[in-house]
């Protein structure tokens, strides 16, 4: 490894970052997530924390730009230079810039996150089957409104899971229209536009008006990139037109003919010879996570390494299951010391304490069923530290409970925060199914609400009500499951599902008026497809996959971390 001349480094360990803008290639939540994971790569091995700011000046300002983007080092169009970052310091130092002429993905082709539909914002599954045909891209087949959609499982006919794909007909990002969809045609400087345009801008980004007349209303947004759109050339954002004619020959697919660099391109009209409209075909793209992790290495003070497998090696290579190379770890620890997780986490040792715990005060006569004490190696599938994702995480009687496939673990709140379990769900709450999507405790009445699919149960001590349909609570029938719950004051609970949440009045047993509301509008900066939401020790946690986003009482995300290390303390 190598550091910059003078060993440039931050003089504080609580480094801040801010995302100034987004690429049209990926949904903003995927970009947020990629950056958060990229920071985590470093904070896992050295005692640095990364806090995201939403305004003001952060140590690391992150932005996307094309060609000349405001610093002395212009990007160079598609491929070639992907990104750059400056070593630690004031001003532009520490900042990271990403070339938006690249196709940003998660490294394996377009990462198409859906909206609406019934798949809770899941990614498209390509290829997918629909009425006997296989689709490798989003399609408008089966719809009359021209909105592209995709299945989020391999077979739409079987699973019926779908969502809508990024399209300017569905939403915009950035701008000043709050994400409203484009209105076509729209008028800009007296001219009428039927599609997104780069006219009027010098940065090459495609935009549209969100009313009929931009000249009057001045509302606009940037157009998300459709996964079928070409990159670069002179038709960015348009789909390929197949077949097309090039030098008198007809092409049914992308070609590298006519180019010396072997890159695949296509015409975006039926005849390149007549219209000269073209662009590069969508490809695997570059993993924003991997590139960001590399650039953040620079932003923390690491220069390029000459170890080919190191993250700080200057050339891009896609790696499926990324882990930081020893060389990178040594480099960052040279600058900042060894971190909170310098060695691979060890599996949790099984709890051998017999239950019930004599120290426990159990006012509801609810105790964990006695499990045989064992000194045998724990079944790895029953080790909470080996699980990447829980069905739900919630607080019951002040203790964090982690539910997964018929089992649960709990984290003691009083002693040293020791994890105990697994316990059988059916042993303690016999009426419940094995998969619990969400649960909360009504503190007023000491009732426990459990949700699974579109049903719920209410436990008071050992007596149970349910299952009942969640429609009984006033929730719409379209809801597949409740994924998280947050107690808000006395007798109010926010119930999360998909990208929305509802406020439930526990006493009145109904949903309050004015709901649902969009999660990302009220809780900015957290994934809007979190699968666990809960409140613990004054913070709100949103979990997605292995990660959590922690929000403080001012609704600022003050920490992003691993469930495994920080909550389970593996």
């Amino acid at each position: 490894y190598k550091t910059f001349d003078g060993d440039l480094k931050w003089d504080h360990n609580d480094v801040t970052y801010r995302i100034l803008n987004y690429s049209p290639d990926m949904e903003s939540s995927l970009i947020d997530d990629a950056f958060a994971r990229a920071f985590k790569v470093w904070s896992e091995v050295t005692p640095l924390t990364f806090t995201r700011l939403f305004e003001g000046t952060a140590d690391i300002m992150i932005s996307f730009g094309k060609a000349d983007h405001g610093d002395p080092y212009p990007f160079d169009g598609k491929d070639g230079l992907l990104a750059h970052a400056y070593p630690p310091g004031e001003g532009i130092q520490g900042d990271a810039h990403f070339d938006d002429d690249e196709h940003w993905t998660l490294g394996k082709g377009p990462a198409v996150k859906t909206r609406y539909g019934n798949a809770d914002g899941a990614l498209c599954h390509f290829p997918f089957m629909f009425e006997g045909n296989s689709y490798t891209t989003c399609t408008t087949e089966g719809r009359t409104d021209n909105l592209p959609w995709c299945a989020t499982t391999a077979d739409y006919n079987k699973d019926k899971k779908y969502g809508f794909c990024p399209s300017e007909l569905l939403y915009t990002f950035g701008g000043n229209a709050g994400g409203a969809e484009c209105v076509f045609p729209f008028v800009f400087q007296g001219e009428e536009y039927d599609s997104c345009t780069t006219e009027g801008r010098s940065d090459g980004y495609r935009w549209c008006a969100t009313t009929k007349n931009f000249d009057n209303d001045k509302t606009y947004g940037f157009c998300p990139t459709r996964e079928t759109a070409v990159f670069g050339g002179n038709s960015e954002g348009e789909p390929c037109h197949f077949p097309f004619v090039f030098l008198g020959k007809t092409y049914d697919s992308c070609t590298s003919e006519g180019r010396g660099d072997g890159k695949l391109w296509c015409s975006t009209t039926s005849s390149y010879d007549e219209d000269n409209k073209w662009g590069f075909c969508p490809d695997q793209g570059y993993s924003l996570f991997l590139v960001a992790a590399h650039e953040f290495g620079h932003a923390l003070g690491l220069d390029h390494s000459n170890i080919r497998d190191a993250l700080m090696y200057p050339m891009y290579v896609y790696v499926e299951n990324f882990s930081l190379h020893k060389d990178d770890i040594e480099g960052i620890q040279y600058l900042y010391g060894s971190g909170p997780h310098p060695t691979p986490p060890q599996p949790n040792t099984p709890t051998t304490t017999p239950y019930p715990d004599p120290d426990e005060t159990d006012t509801t006569d609810e105790t964990e069923p006695t499990v045989p004490t064992t000194t045998q190696p724990l079944d790895p599938t029953k080790d909470a530290c080996n699980l990447t994702k829980f069905d739900t995480i919630t607080v019951i009687q002040g203790e964090l409970h982690f539910f997964k496939d018929g089992d649960y673990w709990k984290m003691s709140s009083r002693s040293d925060g020791k994890l105990s379990g697994p316990f059988s769900i059916s042993g303690r709450w016999p009426a419940l199914p094995s998969v619990i999507d969400s649960a909360f405790e009504d503190l007023l009445n000491r009732k426990l609400y459990f949700f699974s699919g579109n049903r719920f149960w209410v436990y008071t001590g050992k007596s149970v009500l349910g299952p009942r349909s969640i429609e009984k609570l006033g929730l719409p029938s379209s809801i597949q499951k409740i994924e998280g719950s947050l107690l808000r004051g006395k007798g109010k609970v926010l119930l999360f599902s998909g990208e929305s949440f509802w406020r439930f009045d526990v006493k009145a047993q109904k949903i309050d008026k004015g709901y649902p509301r969009y999660t990302d509008v009220v809780f900015g900066g957290v994934p809007n497809d979190a699968h666990d939401v809960f409140q613990y020790k004054g913070h709100i946690y949103f979990c997605r996959d292995r990660f959590y986003w922690r929000m403080n009482s001012r609704k600022q995300v003050d920490r992003v971390g691993y469930v495994k290390y920080d909550l389970l303390r593996c």
Binding site: H84, D99, M315, Y316
Partner: protein, 89 residues
């Protein structure tokens, strides 16, 4: 038998011009990523020869140090990469 391929090269409108000779590509690369400037600045001597700069680049990127603009070196130079110079920051 397939017909012999007749490659044509077209100038695509809007394409950021990258049609340069291998030599131009190498010179640009060596300058952009600090292999040539470094010695000039640090030693106040005349510019390092391209061969020495190539060797430095080959060492840094872990390929055989030939000092020649060979195929392996060109391949590395064409790979997508980070824009931060390799030397002389």
């Amino acid at each position: 038998w397939s017909l012999p391929l007749k490659s044509v090269s077209v100038t695509f409108p809007g394409d950021i011009l990258k049609n340069m000779t291998d030599k131009q590509l190498a010179e640009n690369y060596l300058k952009r990523f600090g292999y040539i400037d470094r010695v000039y600045r640090s030693d106040f001597q005349s510019m390092m020869s391209t061969s020495k700069a190539l060797k430095s680049m080959q060492r840094q990127t872990g390929i055989e140090e030939t000092g020649e603009l060979d195929k392996a070196t060109l391949e590395v130079m064409k790979q997508p990469r980070c824009g931060v110079p390799d030397v002389g920051n």
